[in-house]
Structure formats: structure tokens, C-alpha cells
Point group: C2
Chain length 233, copies 2
């Protein structure tokens, strides 16, 4: 018996990583006078990981790490104008329209009729609330949870608050690390929908267990899979 369905947002409901990648390409271009793209990429990622504990996820932390990396990689030769370009680029990401993945609206509309849907997304409060508002999807969700980290403890807290037993919880998302593994660990069901591309930090190996773990190609396949899990077809 499914009591609630948790659904991830970035790269599950709408495109996100590709927007970071576009911005990142412009950033590499900006620094191309100093270093090749691979060095820039490697150094920025190392800075982001070093700052993760302090900054958390989201565009603001990405922007601060980008500025820090640009200063370091140019030995302070980067101009104020170029730093301003990095700032503007971050604002551009925030203002970016929300582009839904194919089939999202129809699928949520169908599922919300018969199930409690919980939007569970990691990142910056302001970024995420803005995207939820822009997406036009808010009304399909019984609850919305923007969390600092998607680990077992976070899921346990959400389920406790929503009075859902782990065995009755299904989580759907594109990240094995954040959406699937902690939920399987808790005793819930994980449905993985891989996205086009995965941020280095979110990469994880597939779980060894096959019980309660499913993978589909697109969100449009979700209603049929859930019906099968509920023994309705």
C-alpha cells in the first residue's frame, strides 16, 4: 500500500543541470586566457567541495565558489568587470525560465488525484521556492520540503512529520545518491529516472539490492509502474 509518493524536483520535474553546464561553459570561456577548460573545471569542483559544508547547494554558493576560483586561477589578475560578469551570470541562472521535462504535468495531474505527493528538493530555499512557483506545479503537492541535505535522517524526519511509514513510501528522482539509496536504506521504495547528465557530486553506483528498486526512462512511465506495484494491473 503506497501512503505517499516523494518526488525530486531538479532534473526530475524540470531541467537544472544543463543550465549549470551552460553557465559553466561561459565561465571556462572567461578564464580561457589563463587555463584550459579541464583545469578550470577541476579547480572549481575542488573549491565547491571545500566550500560545501559552509555554502551548501544552490546558485549563490556556486557563484561564490566561482569567484574564489577565478581569483585563485588568475593569481588575482582577473578584473572587477570579469567578476561582475560571473555575478550577472549567476543572476541569469536565477532568472532562467523553468523548463519542465516531458510528461511532467500530465503525470502529476494523474497521480495527485489518487495519491499524496510530496515535493522533496535539496538546495537553496529561495532558488527552490522560485522554481516551484514558476513551474505551475505547486497545487499537485500535499507538502513541499526544501532540505539542506537528502540523507536517511532527512527522509526519516519528513516521513515522521507527514505520518507516513517507510514501507508505504515511494521516492522518485534522478539521483541515486540523494533520491534512491537513503530511501532504500530506510525501508522505502526507490524509483530512479536517470537524467541526461549527472553532476560529479551526485554520482553513485547502482544499489546492489533489486528489491524495492526500480528504474524507468521517463516520468510518463510512473503511473503504470505504480499501478503494478499496487497490484492494480
Amino acid at each position: 500500500m503506497i501512503e505517499a509518493i516523494g518526488i525530486d524536483a531538479d532534473d526530475t520535474l524540470w531541467h537544472n543541470e544543463v543550465i549549470f553546464e551552460e553557465t559553466h561553459a561561459r565561465y571556462c570561456e572567461l578564464l580561457s586566457r589563463y587555463h584550459d577548460a579541464r583545469t578550470v573545471e577541476r579547480t572549481l569542483y575542488a573549491t565547491e567541495m571545500r566550500n560545501l559544508e559552509l555554502f551548501g547547494y544552490g546558485i549563490k554558493g556556486y557563484a561564490l565558489s566561482s569567484i574564489e576560483t577565478a581569483i585563485a586561477l588568475t593569481n588575482g589578475e582577473i578584473s572587477a568587470e570579469e567578476i561582475r560578469a560571473i555575478l550577472e551570470s549567476a543572476k541569469g541562472m536565477m532568472r532562467h525560465p523553468v523548463e519542465l521535462l516531458k510528461g511532467v504535468t500530465e503525470t502529476l495531474a494523474a497521480l495527485a488525484d489518487s495519491h499524496d505527493l510530496i515535493l522533496i528538493t535539496k538546495g537553496d530555499l529561495r532558488d527552490q521556492h522560485r522554481k516551484i512557483a514558476k513551474s505551475g506545479l505547486a497545487a499537485y503537492f500535499a507538502h513541499t520540503e526544501v532540505v539542506a541535505e537528502k540523507d536517511r535522517k532527512t527522509y526519516a524526519r519528513i516521513l515522521d512529520r507527514c505520518r507516513v511509514r517507510p514501507a508505504g513510501f515511494v521516492m522518485v528522482g534522478n539521483s541515486l545518491k540523494s533520491d534512491i539509496l537513503p530511501v532504500l536504506d530506510l525501508g522505502g521504495t526507490g524509483i530512479h529516472i536517470p537524467y541526461l547528465t549527472t553532476w560529479e557530486h551526485e554520482k553513485a553506483t547502482r544499489p546492489e539490492q533489486t528489491e524495492r528498486f526500480y528504474q524507468i526512462d521517463s516520468i510518463g512511465e510512473l503511473p503504470d509502474l505504480l499501478a503494478r506495484l499496487e497490484g492494480r494491473s
Copy 2:
């Protein structure tokens, strides 16, 4: 009958605004070759307000607005090294120890025995969770809510989720604008504890109503006031 007590965090449980003011003084010093402190202050505040919708509250947004303002106020003459100093200053704020206000621990320990306490704080998820963890106060709270904005709608959502009626809700905090006015508006009780200093953006005039609105000088006076409200003394 009090069903739950909401408690604000920054400048109600621990010092916050003074840390911003220390950082701000260093920032004005950094730019003193170019402009007097008043111009710097006015321009930074205008930048913060312009960016508020995109950045929200918290140290990361403050840091990005500080960098943007420094570039603008120096016509791009600020050096990368000086921008690095602004970044380091922001990290220093994040790493700053949490300094509790006087009487906080004893008061929460006493209240948590008899009441459901809800920590309700506005700002950046990562900043706030870090401070809650460092404060050693987490165990006193039945729920913790980090929200993007403290308005009537947010309080209504929290009360709904915690199954608390507005008439049974008491909110305690230092900001009339964020902690008191929206809760009075909803039909709850507001207890204002002014802090040493108030950020420009949080300034508000005292509510006209006297019903369900109280003011005390320090959190240590809270148990007595609550006992009076509950007719226990």
C-alpha cells in the same frame, strides 16, 4: 490554552546582527579609500534590497551583494585581492561561534518540559542548520522550520502542518515585522523581545492593537508571562 510556542532564532536565541555589523564595519574600512561609510552603507543596502527577491536572506546573498556594491562603488578599481577579503569575511561569519543570549538555555529547558516549542527562523538553510547544531539547543524543539519569508502565509502553513490553532499559538521574537505582526494578524499571540539593534529591513512600527501583544525585556521573563497568560499565576 497555549498549544505551541514558536521561537525565533537570530537575535532572539543567539547574537546575529552584531556579527553582520562587525563585518560591515570592516567592509566600510576596505572601501574607505573610495567613499565615506555612509555612502557605502546606503549603496550596499540599496543593492541588498534590489537583490532580495533573487538572493533571499543570509550570508551568501550578503556576500554577493557586497561584492557587487564594491565593484560599482570603485568603478571596477577594486582589486581581486580585496574581493577575496570580502569572501573570506563572509566565511568568517559562517564560522563564527554561536553566542547565546543570556538566560536562553535555562528558559528553553524550563518551557520544553511543559510546551511544544517550534523554532521558526528565516534565512539560508545551511546557515541556520549550522547555527542550530552549534547552539546545542536543538533537543528543546519539537519542530524546526527554516523558511524563506516570515509572513502570514508561512505561519498559517506551519500551524496547519503542526495541527495548532492560531488562537493557541504564541510567537516569541525580536522582529515586530517578521515575528509579531503576521502572527497577530492570524489571530495568535505575539511576544516581542527587542534586541540591541535592528536591521533596517526589519524595522516596523509597533502594532496598534494591545490585545494578544506583549513586550518583555529578556527571554528570562518568558516563563512568568506565559504562566500569567495561562492563568496559572
